[in-house]
């Protein structure tokens, strides 16, 4: 039985205008990700990895082409619908963690839920569960400044997970971490994919990350060069 396709790019091209120069970040890219996939997006700096993830995560618009999410064309959705899509279906993990510095680990994870129609009780249950899942049950009340890099990234992962998204997009999640911490973060992401069938797409150069993923695509000069199982 084939897995359900979650997100799909069809003939997506993205061009930027920098001064008088036009830069083509993506060139006629076709791609799809299905439920339970764990895909790593590799490629040199400036190859278009981040643009690819941004468009897939609906935080950027393509110049041409179509984006489908659960079979629905979201290319031309209005801002409100895109906010709802990201709030309910997509989780983001950033290279620099991007936590709110004045909020504790618990509050950072709780933040996206405050704008959903969820009761206080359910928020508490969900936040506690995901923080336990990422191993931070003892650090819930700590501000980001009092957490290590690895712990911060775990909080970021918990924040991405807490809305039970269908797709998690992580842009270089281990780039700011030491080797040992990076391994533990990738183990966590791998475990989430294995045990909870969370669909994950990670952009990374890190060989360990690439090794951990189930599939890999390589982007170069805005094109997907190859798509293969690791």
């Amino acid at each position: 039985m084939s897995n359900k396709t979650i997100a799909e790019l069809r003939g997506v091209t993205k061009k930027y205008q920098v001064g008088e120069t036009e830069i083509q970040a993506l060139n006629n890219v076709n791609f799809s990700v299905s439920k339970g996939d764990f895909i790593v997006v590799a490629g040199p700096s400036g190859s278009g990895k981040s643009t690819f993830l941004n468009i897939l995560g609906s935080i950027d618009k393509p110049t041409s082409g179509t984006i489908l999410f659960n079979g629905t064309d979201i290319t031309h959705l209005n801002l409100e619908s895109l906010h709802q899509l990201r709030l309910n279906k997509i989780g983001f993990v950033f290279q620099s963690f991007n936590l709110v510095p004045v909020l504790t680990a618990y509050e950072n994870v709780e933040l996206p839920l405050l704008f959903k129609n969820i009761s206080k009780k359910e928020i508490k249950e969900r936040v506690t569960t995901v923080l336990e899942k990422v191993g931070l049950q003892d650090r819930m009340d700590h501000l980001p400044a009092r957490l290590s890099g690895g712990q911060k990234q775990r909080v970021a992962i918990a924040r991405a997970l807490v809305g039970s998204p269908e797709l998690i997009i992580a842009d270089e999640p281990t780039a700011n971490l030491d080797r040992k911490t990076a391994i533990s973060i990738m183990e966590l992401i791998g475990r989430l994919n294995e045990e909870d069938r969370v669909t994950i797409i990670v952009a990374s150069h890190d060989p360990y990350v690439i090794e951990k993923a189930k599939a890999k695509i390589v982007i170069q000069d805005g094109k997907i060069l190859k798509e293969a199982l690791v």
């Binding site: 950033f94 991007n98 004045v102 704008f115 809305g163």
Partner: protein, 430 residues
Amino acid sequence: MILHLSKILHLAYRNLFRNKRRTLFAIFIAASGYAAMAIALGYYGFSIYGLQEMTIRNGFGGSGGTGHLQIKDNRSLESQEKYTLEFGLTDYQNMVKTIKNQPEVDYVLPRIEFGGLVTTGDKSFPFIGYGVESLHEAALRGGLSDINPKLQLGEEIKPLENNKYGIILGRKLANALGVKIGDPLMLYGATVQGAVNAIDVELVGVMSTGLNETDKYYLLTHIDLVQKLVNTDKISLISVMFKNRDSLEHKVSKIQNILASAKGQDNNNKTIGVITWETLAEYYTAAKDLFNMIFSFMGIIILTIVLLSCWNIMNMTTMERIREIGTLRAIGLKNSNITFIFLLEAFLISIIGLVIGIIAQVILSNIINALTIEMPPVPGMNQGYALQVYTFSPYHVFIAVAVVLAITLSSLSAFFIIRKLTIVESLEHA
């Protein structure tokens, strides 16, 4: 939709501590903006109230206060008298007695306005005179010292009580005549029949009316003396002072009803009308309009400074958090959600600033009041007054709301910045 306001408010509160110096500065702007406007309003409130009471109790130019209302012949408002007391009130004693019996009435003051010549024998000068019941008139004018301790009025009229042939002259008129207290003088005036009459008087006092120009012509004496001089039992008007200004309209209509029933019985009093103090107070109305314009202009300037300063601060705050804003938008928060957080931050700043501003305003107002700083006389007048400010008036609530609104709305700068940037641009912001 469940709104987790307390949590979002908590986030806004925590954000205040990100850049403490900037937050303190914003709070200082809110506090000083409120305090400045509130003290100015307190001064305005006192000035307007003082002006009202001055108009009602003392008047400008020595003619006596308007009282809360005046009873006079309506024709005197529209045309000049051909002879003294042409439009005077007859049989006023009964009217005075009836009105005095009303429990809400404090003073009923009959007055005569007249003119003539005052002479020493060697020198003569024209005067504009007022005949009054001196004891009540002094008490009424003395009431102003309760409002403003620097204004010691009323005392100068009291010598009239001991001498039924006494007169008080304006300072400049007395100087021009070269007379001192105790000197004999003679008053010349026209009787109501058109003849010239003269009466011997004694100078019992010299006073300043507050207006330099009026001091050259001013004369004050007993109402009985004036009636003797002009050979009549009429008076020009009756000034009525209530115990307070509460429900003034009701009190005025009550007096009107009393007069209406009196008119029914007396054909001579058919044209008598009741005129409220505001209708008579031309100087007060002009001064109030001027004050309104000055203080409104000042208020708008202070409020604009508060708004622009806070707008600038919120701009800086937003620019510092662009990357975080990008993250929040990426994880699904709407622009309006993020703007709401900024609005709450600004609201908290405005509330904290307001509380500090109120405390500062009350302390400063009390210090100013305790110092009884003497203000210079207003143009055309020769008496200063003590600077006093009211600590509270209903308009202070309006200022508080205006400050809170201005500062809260300044956070909309965040909305305009957020709206211009895409999420990717925000996330890439250094």
